[in-house]
C-alpha cells in the first residue's frame, strides 16, 4: 500500500501512466474511434490530393479528416495513426509476454540447474545478448514468406532474439535466492526443486523481473518501429507508426505534418512508458533511485 502511495506521489510517473493509459485505450478501441471519425485506415482519397504537386494533400486538418490525409494515397491520417497504435503496442506487448516466458524459464533453469546446464544456458544467453538483434531480425524477416501475418511474426522474432536480458536477471536473482537459508530450510523439510522454484524462488523474482520488463516494453516498440521503418517489419496497407515514418521520409520536405504526427506520437508514447518504468523501478528497488530524482 505504501508502495502505491509513493508511486502516486511521483509526478513524472503519473504523467507517464496517464499518457500510456490513454494510448492503450486508443489501441483497444481503434475501430470505435475511427467509426466516430467516420473514416477507415485503408480507403484511398485521391480527390484530396494535389496531383500537380506530386500528390501532396490539398488541405490540412479538416472536419472530416482530423489530422489530414496521407500524401500519395489520401488515406485518413487519424485512422491510420489510431490503427498504428494498435499494431505498435500489440506487437510490443505480445513480444514482451513471450520474452518473459522464455527469459524467466531459461533463467530459473540455469540458476537451479547443475553446473553444465548453467554453463550452456548462460553461454546461450550471453550470445543472444551480445549479438545485434536488429541484424538477425532483418535477416530472419527477409526469408520468411510474404504471406505470413507480419505483426505476429514481428512479435515472435523480437521475442526470440530479445529474451537474454530477462534470462540474465532471472538467473542472477535465482542464484542469489537459492543460497538464502529459507530455501535450504524448505529443502531440509523435504521440498523438491519444483516446489522450491514455485514457492520460494518465483515470488522473489517478480519484483526485479517486472521492473526490468517495464523497460523492455518501450525497447520492443523501438525495435518494431525500426524494422518497419526499414521496410522489413509491418508493410502497407497495415499501418504502424514505424511504417508510417518510413513512408513519410520520402515526403518530409513537402509534407512535414506526415512526419510529425507518427513521430511525435511514437516519442510521447515511448517517453510515457519509460517514465512509468522508471517510477516503478524507483519504488521497487531503492538502490536504483538514481534516474530522475
Amino acid at each position: 500500500m505504501t508502495l502505491f502511495r509513493r508511486l502516486l506521489d511521483d509526478r513524472a510517473f503519473l504523467a507517464g501512466a496517464v499518457i500510456a493509459g490513454v494510448m492503450v485505450l486508443v489501441a483497444l478501441f481503434a475501430p470505435l474511434l475511427t467509426a466516430l471519425a467516420g473514416q477507415d485506415p485503408t480507403t484511398f482519397h485521391p480527390e484530396l490530393l494535389d496531383s500537380a504537386r506530386g500528390g501532396v494533400p490539398l488541405h490540412g486538418i479538416t472536419a472530416d479528416h482530423w489530422l489530414g490525409v496521407e500524401p500519395g494515397t489520401g488515406r485518413d491520417l487519424f485512422a491510420r495513426v489510431v490503427y498504428g497504435a494498435r499494431v505498435s503496442l500489440g506487437v510490443a506487448v505480445s513480444a514482451l509476454a513471450l520474452q518473459l516466458l522464455i527469459g524467466v524459464g531459461i533463467g530459473v533453469a540455469a540458476g537451479l540447474g547443475g553446473r553444465y546446464t548453467d554453463a550452456v544456458l548462460s553461454r546461450l544467453t550471453d550470445l543472444t545478448l551480445a549479438f545485434p538483434l536488429l541484424v538477425l531480425a532483418i535477416a530472419l524477416l527477409a526469408i520468411v514468406p510474404q504471406s505470413w501475418p507480419r505483426p505476429a511474426l514481428l512479435a515472435v522474432v523480437i521475442a526470440l532474439l530479445g529474451w537474454g536480458g530477462t534470462a540474465r536477471i532471472a538467473r542472477g536473482e535465482t542464484l542469489s535466492l537459492k543460497t538464502r537459508d529459507y530455501v535450504s530450510a524448505a529443502r531440509v523439510s523435504g521440498a523438491g526443486t519444483l516446489l522450491v522454484a514455485r514457492r520460494e524462488i518465483l515470488p522473489g523474482l517478480a519484483a526485479p523481473v517486472l521492473t526490468y520488463a517495464a523497460l523492455i516494453l518501450p525497447s520492443n516498440m523501438i525495435t518494431e518501429a525500426g524494422l518497419s521503418f526499414l521496410g522489413v517489419g509491418v508493410r502497407p496497407p497495415t499501418p504502424s507508426w514505424g511504417q508510417m515514418l518510413s513512408s513519410a521520409t520520402t515526403w518530409f520536405r513537402a509534407d512535414p505534418m506526415y512526419v510529425f504526427v507518427p513521430g511525435a506520437l511514437l516519442f510521447v508514447t515511448l517517453l510515457a512508458f519509460v517514465l512509468v518504468a522508471n517510477g516503478v523501478r524507483r519504488v521497487v528497488d531503492p538502490r536504483q533511485r538514481e534516474v530522475l530524482r
Binding site: 553461454r123 540474465r168 538467473r171 529459507y182 529443502r187 523439510s189 523435504g190 520460494e200
Partner: protein, 558 residues
C-alpha cells in the same frame, strides 16, 4: 596529559539521537575501550571524532590536543585525519582500495601528510608493514589487497594507521570480521604498537573480551548514553550498573557436565566433500549420540558448515556415508532432522508470514498445520500468538531466530542441527536464545548438533566437542576434557585465543601467547596467512558481468 577530551557529545540523524551527552577523557598514550551492543552509538562516536559523518547534527565539544574538532574546518580536519588521529575499521576485506597496491596506499597517506619524496614514502610503507609483522614486506608492499588474507589486510590497515606516527589510533570493531586466533593476534598487535609508538588507543567493540585485555579504562554505552565508566579492572570485575552486570552475566559460562546414556543416532563415517580444487571436508568420521548436544567448532574454512549441511542432507557427500538411525540421511527428511540457520535475515522468506513459514515443514510431511498448533509453538519459543501474521521484517533479529527455532521444532524432529544460531545476535539476546534452546532440548529430549566458531558458547551448551581444522577432525572429546587438557596443538592455540571478559586473565593469556610465539620463533603473520586468501571475488558483484561461464567468485559453503 589529556590528549582527547570529549564533552557532552550529541550526534543526531534525522529523528534519532545516536549519541546523547557522551563525555570522556583519554590520556596521551592511554587505552580506552567503548563497549556496547548494536545501536549504542559507539561507532557514530568514532566517526564523529574525524568529522566523517555526512549529514548529522553534532553538538558538544571534541578537544583533540588543544584543537576543537566539532567546529573545525574541512581543511583542519583533513590535516588531523591519518596524521593526528588514525582509524582502523571493521571490515578488512573492503577497507582498502582494490585498485591500488597496498604499499602505494600507505605511501600515498604518508606523502600527503609529510610531503616526503616518493622514494621516502615507499620506504616508510615497507617499514610500517615490517612493524606490523608482515613477512617479506618489500615484496608484499607491491601486492594488491585481494592477495592478502583477512588478518593480513587488517595488519596492513594498522600499518597505514602507523605511517604518520599519529597520537591516537581509533579502532572500530577491528576484529569482528576475523577468526578467533587472528583476532587474538590483531589485538596483541594493537597492544604492541601502542607501547612501541606511544600512541593512545580508543578501542570500540561489542565484545567485553576484546576490550578486557587491551584497555586501561572502559565506557559501557547503551542507546547513546553512558551506563558506566571507570577503570577496566574495576568495571569488568565489580560492575555497579545493572546493565553492565547483565552484559557480564550474558557471557557464556561453563555448565556442569551431564552423563549421556544414548547410543549413536547419527553416524558420519569417512565423509569427504570437495568444491572444485578446495577440500572442504576431509575424511570425517563421528557419531552423534542420542540425547546429547554435540558441539562442532572451527574457524572459517574449517569445513564445519559444509559438514553440518551434509548432516541434514542438503549437500551430498563425495565419499563416505551419513546415516540416521540406520537409514541414509538423503532419504530422511523433515520429521527426523531439522536445521536452525545462522542469519535470521535470510532464513525466513521475506514475502511470507511467520505462521506460513512454520507451517511449511508440517505440510511437507503430510500433516495439516492448524493455526492453534503453530500459535502454541510461537508461545513456546517466547513469541506471541499474534506473530503468526507478522512478516519477518517486522521482527528483531532475536525474534526471527526464535521463529527459526519454532519452524525446526514443528515436525517434532529427533535431531536438530544448529549452524551458528547465535553468532549474529547481541550478547544479551544470544544468552536468551541459548537458554531457550537448552530448555527445549531438555523438555523434548532432543539430540542437538551445535556448530559455532565460538568456543565459549560451546562450553556452555555442549556435552561433547569436535574441533575441526582444515576440513578434518583435530580433536574429539567431552567438553571438560578438551577444554582443560587439549591434546592437539591447534586446539591449544584456539583456546589460548578465546577473548575473556576478566581483565587479569586476559592479560595473563596475552603474556602466555607472547611467550609461546617467541618460543616458536614465529612472526605471527604466518598463522594468519591460511585464512582468507582464497576468498577471491565473492561479493564484488562481478559475477555474471563477463562472458566467462565460470563464475569469478565461486560460492562455496565456508
Amino acid at each position: 596529559m589529556t590528549l582527547l577530551s570529549v564533552r557532552d557529545l550529541r550526534i543526531g540523524f534525522g529523528n534519532t539521537q545516536a549519541v546523547d551527552g557522551l563525555s570522556f577523557d583519554l590520556e596521551a598514550g592511554g587505552a580506552l575501550g567503548i563497549v556496547g551492543e548494536s545501536g549504542s552509538g559507539k561507532s557514530a562516536t568514532a566517526l564523529a571524532l574525524l568529522g566523517l559523518h555526512g549529514e548529522a547534527r553534532i553538538e558538544g565539544s571534541i578537544d583533540f590536543d588543544g584543537l576543537e574538532l566539532t567546529g573545525a574546518s574541512e581543511d583542519q580536519l583533513r590535516a588531523i585525519r591519518g596524521a593526528g588521529i588514525a582509524m582502523v575499521f571493521q571490515e578488512p576485506l573492503t577497507a582498502l582500495s582494490p585498485f591500488h597496491r597496498v604499499g602505494d596506499q600507505i605511501a600515498e597517506v604518508y606523502r600527503l601528510h609529510t610531503g616526503a619524496t616518493r622514494k621516502a614514502a615507499r620506504e616508510r610503507a615497507v617499514e610500517v608493514l615490517r612493524q606490523v609483522h608482515i613477512a617479506d614486506p618489500e615484496r608484499r608492499a607491491r601486492a594488491y589487497p585481494h592477495e592478502f588474507s583477512g588478518g593480513m589486510r587488517q595488519r596492513a590497515l594498522i600499518a597505514m594507521a602507523l605511517a604518520c606516527n599519529p597520537r591516537l589510533i581509533v579502532a572500530d570493531e577491528p576484529t569482528t570480521a576475523l577468526d578467533v586466533t587472528v583476532q587474538a593476534q590483531i589485538l596483541d598487535l594493537l597492544d604492541e604498537v601502542r607501547t612501541a609508538t606511544g600512541a593512545a588507543l580508543l578501542l570500540i567493540s561489542h565484545d567485553l573480551g576484546v576490550v578486557a585485555g587491551s584497555t586501561d579504562d572502559v565506557i559501557v554505552m547503551r542507546r547513546g548514553a553512558v551506563v558506566e565508566a571507570g577503570a577496566t579492572d574495576q568495571v569488568l570485575v565489580t560492575p555497579r550498573a545493572a546493565y553492565t552486570k547483565d552484559l557480564l552475566a550474558a557471557v557464556p559460562k561453563p555448565s556442569p557436565a551431564r552423563v549421556i546414556q544414548g547410543g549413536p543416532l547419527l553416524r558420519v563415517s569417512g565423509v569427504s566433500k570437495r568444491f572444485r580444487k578446495f577440500t572442504a571436508v576431509d575424511d570425517v568420521t563421528l557419531d552423534v549420540r542420542e540425547g546429547e548436544t554435540l558441539g562442532i567448532v572451527g574457524e572459517s574454512g574449517a569445513g564445519k558448515t559444509t559438514l553440518s549441511r551434509m548432516m541434514v542432507g542438503l549437500i551430498p557427500p563425495d565419499r563416505g556415508s551419513i546415516t540416521l538411525a540406520g537409514a541414509d540421511i538423503a532419504r530422511r527428511r523433515g520429521r527426523s532432522v531439522q536445521m536452525v540457520f545462522q542469519d535470521p535475515m535470510s532464513s525466513l522468506n521475506p514475502r511470507r508470514t511467520v505462521g506460513e513459514s512454520i507451517a511449511d515443514p508440517l505440510r511437507l510431511i503430510g500433516e495439516p498445520a492448524p493455526r492453534v498448533k503453530i500459535e502454541a509453538l510461537l508461545v513456546r519459543v517466547g513469541l506471541a500468538p499474534s506473530h503468526y501474521d507478522s512478516y519477518p521484517h517486522q521482527l528483531s533479529g532475536g525474534m526471527r531466530q526464535r521463529v527459526g527455532i519454532a519452524r525446526a521444532l514443528a515436525p517434532s524432529p529427533r535431531l536438530i542441527v544448529c549452524d551458528e544460531p547465535v553468532s549474529s545476535l547481541d550478547v544479551t539476546t544470544q544468552a536468551q536464545v541459548l537458554a531457550l534452546l537448552e530448555d527445549i532440548r531438555l523438555e523434548r529430549e532432543l539430540t542437538m548438533v551445535f556448530v559455532t566458531h565460538d568456543l565459549a558458547v560451546l562450553r556452555q551448551i555442549a556435552d561433547r566437542v569436535v574441533v575441526m581444522h582444515d576440513g578434518a577432525v583435530a580433536e574429539v572429546g567431552d567438553v571438560a576434557a578438551v577444554y582443560d587438557q587439549p591434546q592437539h596443538a591447534y586446539t591449544k592455540e584456539l583456546l589460548a585465543a578465546i577473548p575473556v571478559a576478566d581483565p587479569i586473565e586476559a592479560r595473563r593469556r596475552r603474556a602466555l601467547r607472547r611467550v609461546e610465539l617467541a618460543g616458536a620463533g614465529l612472526s605471527g603473520s604466518g598463522l594468519a596467512g591460511a585464512g582468507l586468501a582464497g576468498t577471491g571475488l565473492a561479493g564484488t558483484g562481478l559475477d555474471g558481468a563477463g562472458l566467462d561461464p565460470e563464475p569469478l567468485g565461486a560460492t562455496q559453503p565456508e
